[in-house]
Amino acid sequence: MLYVAEGRRSLPTAEELSPQHDELRVLADAVIRGDAVALRTFLTEMVPQLLRVVRRVLGAGHSDLEDITYEAAYATVESLAQFRGEGSVRHFACRIAVLTAMNVRRREATQKRARQREPVDPEELRSEAPSPEVDAENASLAPIVRELMLTLSEPLAEALSLHVILGYTVAEIAMSSGVGPETVRSRLRLAKQALRQRALGNPSLREALEVEP
């Protein structure tokens, strides 16, 4: 027995993210009450989307996508009781997935620095290719955004991730992050400046983008 849930194959639109159109709210409330059937339905609905979010943040070649998506899904269920209706449940869950994946990237970067290894190690090999240098030659910005998330402060990295990686509007980011729209715009401005510096600091990428610095 499952709650009726429509399948999703794309990131939600603004209308679907509005509180008035939150088809998952009733389901989430049942999960909070401890309804096991509702929990399975909720996970069946959300896990595929969380998987895609984690994949976007970490890249398809990351070796631990399953484990990290599991962490994100578990954390989402644990955190449902904290959901206060800002934005939609789906939006809430996707933000948790972004934060979970970002934490993993930061942890991996810390461990890598601590190990002081050469760039070639099993984890690195999976995520190394395509390397930022190679992708710069091919004018690929996604790896640069992923690397930038490690160096930006958490609020800026979160805003950039939700905006660029997941395609959320300022209002959607503000609702899910619990800050005002002006704060979000300020964070995005700083994050985009950092993106510009990082991307255009590479002559090959600058040439490929046909943009004057």
Binding site: P48, E71, A75, E78, P122, L125, S131, L141, Y168
Partner: protein, 301 residues
């Protein structure tokens, strides 16, 4: 509509003519807007359902359900009815690998209760200092990757790579009833902890005890990457080849083709390396490795 939202609306296909015109002006006048919009389009282009995603999602769902505490039964009313369906589904799913009698397409014991030492993940919404301090959760049962699709027939013999020449460490292998997924999880943890000797031993033990399991197939990739890291390119190439022969359409096939090309390149076998890259581009033109593969292949005269 503010400038930041123009990019988002464009990606969603929701700009009217006036907004579209304004957006084009913005892209020509703002480097930041252009770069962030292009980056967003790249992420949108990457976003697709991959083979094996459905099975992977189902496995993750089962892991979360297994890890969650069972709700208390409401007083005076048995809760068999709402959970019976779940229990039947869980029981049937657990029987699938046993009834098929051939190569398992999913990790065994994935629905077993979590390890007593397992630590449930903490929410990233916890305070930042708590987040930083939290232990890496035990990724116990069911933590095998999505190496479950495209598995070849059981009659296909598995190429035996060269026995590792490095002396083995002696990890705890006394639990003879340890499941394939638990062994695989232990090996992964050892690899992440940079204990490569233990990781190698456990992956090989997994392959000896459960040669037909999905975890054993995935272990070919892990062993290959460890060998490649140790500059043992010949051995690495054999492991990647073993994976591709056993799971030619597996979800790690693109990784295996790319990694095999790297190993062959290290051996000086550039023609074979290029062939592996061409196969990668032919079969997975949209993979994360495609751009790098094209860059490495010699351009046509």
């Amino acid at each position: 509509m503010n400038d930041d939202d123009l990019s988002v609306r464009s990606r969603r296909g929701g700009l009217d003519d006036a907004a579209e015109k304004r957006f084009k002006l913005l892209l020509t006048s703002s480097r930041e807007a252009l770069l962030s919009h292009r980056a967003g389009l790249e992420f949108d282009a990457e976003d697709s359902l991959l083979p094996g995603d459905a099975e992977l999602a189902r496995r993750i769902t089962d892991r979360v359900l297994a890890a969650r505490p069972r709700p208390a039964a409401p007083p005076g009313r048995p809760w068999l009815k709402p959970t019976l369906g779940v229990a039947v589904l869980v029981g049937l799913a657990a029987l699938i690998p046993l009834s098929k009698g051939r190569l398992s397409e999913r990790p065994t014991a994935a629905l077993a209760p979590p390890s007593p030492t397992a630590t449930a993940p903490t929410s990233p919404l916890a305070p930042a200092d708590a987040r930083e301090d939290r232990a890496v959760p035990e990724r116990g049962v069911g933590s095998a990757p999505a190496a479950t699709v495209g598995v070849g027939p059981s009659s296909r013999s598995r190429p035996r790579p060269t026995v590792l020449s490095r002396p083995r460490s002696q990890p705890d292998t006394t639990a003879l009833d340890e499941s394939a997924s638990a062994l695989f999880a232990r090996a992964n943890r050892a690899r992440r902890d940079a204990d490569t000797a233990t990781a190698e031993t456990l992956y090989q033990l997994l392959q000896e005890r459960y040669p037909a399991s999905a975890e054993a197939i995935a272990a070919d990739m892990a062993l290959g990457l460890l060998a490649l890291n140790a500059k043992r390119a010949e051995l690495a190439s054999k492991y990647f080849g073993s994976y591709l022969s056993r799971a030619p359409d597996g979800p790690l096939a693109a990784d295996a083709l790319w990694s095999r090309a790297r190993a062959l390149s290290l051996l000086g076998k550039s023609a074979a390396a290029d062939e592996s890259l061409r196969e990668l581009l032919k079969r997975y033109p949209g993979s994360a490795y495609a751009g790098a593969a094209r860059a490495k292949l010699p351009r046509a005269p």
